[in-house]
């Protein structure tokens, strides 16, 4: 078995880490699902307030999405702008 190059090892593990980082989006998915469910309940109870409810839902989703976006940014950095390779 040939020796593993240090850079190759870092790149391989970074790719794995990028995939693992995206697990963090799970929480956002669950949270947005709960929010959408509650919004549907609210619209069923008060159909007149539909526009306000949708606007509040979108705003809340945008805030909840932040953690998922941070996961995506970490994954992108690990793949495209890996800071660890430079440490070799």
């Amino acid at each position: 078995m040939s020796a593993i190059d240090g850079k190759a090892l870092i790149l391989a593990l970074s790719a794995l880490g990028a995939g693992l980082a995206m697990i963090g989006t799970l929480g956002t998915g669950i949270g947005q699902g709960i929010a959408a469910g509650k919004a549907a309940e609210a619209v069923a109870r008060q159909p007149d307030a539909q526009n306000d409810i949708i606007r509040t839902l979108l705003l809340g989703d945008a805030i909840a999405e932040t953690s998922a976006i941070y996961c995506l940014i970490i994954a992108l950095i690990l793949i495209f702008a890996n800071p660890l390779v430079r440490l070799l």
Partner: protein, 219 residues
């Protein structure tokens, strides 16, 4: 696949070579387009609107009512800023459909826009509460929470910038991956989701959050 924007040309200035990226070129193109649109649309307003003036008035009144319902009465002064932001982001997010790289897929653009919003928010807080009230606001509800309040203020523009950047760049990367697997037929409907839907939604969310931040700074 290109993650960083391409350097279109190098601009020599004071002995330094400043690389001008695709982002800057496309942004200037959008700015020129919006300025021409503004000139043509606002050239001759009449008492009884017709043609393009109708569309522009609908746009303005829609924005004004959105501002009033989000920030309350007396917020008409923000219509120019929010309107400019909305028009720029709308065009910038959708310009990917014309094979250009969206300027919002570059962190520099989104951080700059979020920075403008941050300065506006702080200025508005300072103006409404006065310098003493503004500084006291950081020490509420308890004095030792000042670091948390400061971090909270700085986190707002950062998350605003990263949200727009991440959404547009993520959509762009997914579309690139799909194009490299199936280059025909399949990507066309997906553009509706990743470019049109996400682009318009992110524009709306950016201006909504800007309005919310400014409104919450005032009280």
């Amino acid at each position: 696949m290109e993650f960083f924007p391409k350097v279109v040309f190098v601009f020599p200035l004071f002995g330094m070579n400043i690389p001008v990226t695709e982002t800057v070129v496309v942004t200037w193109g959008i700015m020129a387009g919006l300025m021409i649109f503004g000139y043509v649309a606002g050239r001759n307003f009449e008492k009884i609107p017709r043609g393009l003036q109708n569309a522009v008035e609908i746009l303005y009144e829609g924005l004004e009512s959105l501002l009033k319902s989000t920030m309350g009465e007396g917020s008409e002064g923000f219509v120019p800023y929010i309107g400019t932001l909305a028009m720029f982001l709308f065009v910038a997010n959708l310009i990917g459909l014309l094979t250009f790289r969206p300027p919002t897929a570059d962190l520099s653009t989104t951080l700059a826009l979020a920075g403008i919003t941050f300065v506006l928010t702080q200025y508005e807080g300072l103006k409404r509460k006065g310098i003493v009230g503004y500084i006291r606001g950081f020490f509420e509800p308890l004095p030792f929470m000042a670091p948390l309040n400061i971090i909270g203020q700085i986190a707002n523009p950062v998350s605003l910038a990263f949200r727009l950047f991440g959404n547009i760049l993520g959509g762009m990367i997914i579309m690139n991956l799909i194009y490299s697997v199936v280059p025909v037929l399949i990507p066309a409907p997906l553009h509706f989701y990743f470019d049109v839907f996400a682009g318009i939604l992110q524009t709306f969310i950016f201006i909504m959050l800007t309005m919310t931040f400014v409104a919450s700074a005032a009280d």
